[in-house]
Symmetry: C2
Subunit: 378 residues, 2 copies
């Protein structure tokens, strides 16, 4: 194996596949990055066996030569050292050569590194995924879908299935749902592709967070392939594989109330900042809980009181209040998470009583909702 | 106590005095910020008993009214909550009122906070420092003096005196020295003030680091007063007190070699980057040690070798090499710290043999030097 490559391209690829590499693995070779040089270009792979990322660097990018292939071959190099070396090389090009006994030489200007490599034949094979039932969504929409749901997954391993996001594909619609059983986030998106079949899977929250980090904010399409135990996200030069969680995701449809007894419309930012301030003195107290009450004259009061520290009272003008009077308490953190996930300058909160879950939606947007379970304090 | 204040000014002062407040204190009232309102303005104080910071907000800044004083008085408020509240208030002005029983109301727009205060009479008094023998240096020079020496203090408490920086004032010159007994940093500065007397004190490194953080990069003068057990730094609206370390600082003059057997001049940035790369594979091995050798043709070689990982060889062109041949090993970290502290694009390294400390200086600048003890490996 021997090639000369533009350092910038190599660095970008190394940083992408590093997202899957962890030092806490029981399979030693997975602390490495696999490098495969073919006649077409260079492929890097990183994996922690749950998530695997493959990045391809083509020989040419338009008219620009990126890789000069001298000899094909493959090697596995320690990710921690290799990534640091590539980041700090002195010149714009770098030559990588595998010599006898997996010894790998990395040359750039007057720097010469000699790394002990591992045999690429011993690197685990990536899942083989037949590219059937592919559906496509724009990268920026995919990132929004992830951002607006993944924060609500459970961080506790007591019910492992809740640490993932439920993805359902049906009638050319994708529905993403996350819940930790105290709150729920739901986001729908219409799929442009024809006849994509039916799926109901659970993708680990951690995988989606990592995926989101390596995707650019572009409108370029991402191909998505769902199989029985794997999902594959595919961009121009990147393959991102994640295993799926096993088990049945709870039926969340019945959690979302159909009726509503009180509807409140408020400015998202004003409400978020008031909740944030009200939570300042609640943090130390009863699990960060604030009280919400509807006052006369379309005014909302948010308050908290921790006798040993002090109390806060916030008043926010509501744009409209319809239905029954209400006093309710909820987690300020859950409300802030929900408000940050929503788009739009006004939101509508629909209550069905002080002891029932309530729903937060942007005004006139049915594609997204956030649900929070109240806390008994009033 | 009752006043209305511009939030920006209050926030800046709170952030400054917060630098001295720690939650890990054995004196409960020191977890608070003391607020004193006089006819002239508002004074905030934070302290961890080693460092105390006092910030004064005058009633007016030029033509602009900053504070409207309704009633003088004082209170101590929990720093953690008070600072978060001030940061998140909704409007540009804030009213603070102490009511019965130390209850303090903070009002801004439609937000109202009620904090349990503590009696300001119980807050420890700051040291009284007679303003004699004041000397002055520009803020940016003071920050440079700190930056170029404080990194070399010891982090170990086995010899507490070495956790401080030795400040000596004599013949209208200030000399700052720090050493952890493996390396030493020295920086001198001429004092413009007349007849400032003679001092030899040790200021805790931690205090200087905090001081540096709250000083702006301006040329405004800082007044410095040194007493037997305290040092006071004084800017327009800020007083910064630090206790001094007790004990005698070792005599470091004899550590600095007078003779030199090999002089090398190199480009600072090139050398720093080569050391950085050479240390990549040394990190896991012998305590981050790299080897330095002078090759033919004014070339420097820096290398490291950790058999289980690999090796690096770096070549750097020297601008000049004078004197004996040399092979020497040293800590890459110490060398990088020293190079980052120096100013100037070229540096001179003066060796007196492979087992003796060596000195690094900018070319033609006697005001600063860095000294490193080598490691035996060759």
């Amino acid at each position: 194996m021997r090639f000369i490559i533009q350092r910038d391209y190599l660095l970008q690829s190394v940083q992408d596949v590093m997202k899957a590499v962890t030092s806490r693995t029981t399979i030693p070779i997975l602390t490495g990055i696999k490098i495969v040089v073919s006649e077409e270009g260079v492929t890097l792979t990183g994996s922690d066996s749950d998530v695997s990322i493959e990045s391809f660097i083509p020989k040419e990018d338009g008219d620009k030569e990126i890789v000069e292939i001298k000899q094909t071959g493959s090697i596995v190099l320690q990710a921690k050292f290799f990534s640091e070396i590539v980041r700090k090389l002195p010149t714009d090009t770098v030559e990588i050569v595998v010599e006898n006994h997996l010894q790998t030489v990395i040359r750039s200007g007057k720097s010469e590194f000699n790394l002990n490599g591992l045999d690429a034949e011993e690197y685990p094979h990536l899942p083989q995924i037949a590219e059937e039932n592919v559906f496509r969504i724009p990268t920026d929409l995919l990132k929004a879908l992830i951002r607006q749901t993944v924060f609500a997954v459970s961080t506790s391993e007591t019910r492992p299935i809740l640490t993932g996001v439920n993805w359902k594909v049906e009638d050319n619609e994708l529905i993403c749902i996350a819940t930790d059983s105290h709150r729920l986030a739901l986001r729908k998106a219409r799929l442009e592709t024809e006849a994509v079949g039916k799926h109901n899977v659970v993708i680990p929250g951690k995988s989606l967070t990592e995926l989101s980090k390596i995707l650019d904010d572009t409108a370029a399409m991402v191909d998505i392939v769902i199989t029985e135990n794997q999902v594959l996200f595919k961009t121009k030069h990147l393959l991102f594989f994640s295993r799926l969680l096993e088990g049945n995701y709870p039926d969340t449809a019945r959690l979302i109330p159909n009726e509503r007894k009180t509807d409140v419309v408020v400015n998202t930012k004003e409400f978020l900042q008031a909740i944030d301030r009200a939570s300042l003195l609640a943090r130390e107290g009863k699990n960060n809980v604030v009280k919400f009450a509807i006052l006369e004259g379309n005014t909302i009061e948010v308050s908290s009181n921790t006798p040993e520290i002090g109390k806060v009272v916030e008043e926010i003008p509501a744009q409209s209040v319809e239905g029954e009077e209400l006093k309710i308490s909820f987690s300020a953190k859950y409300m802030m998470d929900a408000l940050k996930a929503l788009e739009g300058s006004e939101i509508q909160i629909s209550f069905t009583g002080a002891m029932r879950p309530f729903v937060i939606r942007p005004l006139n947007d049915e594609a997204i909702l956030q649900l929070i379970l109240p806390v008994r304090t009033y």
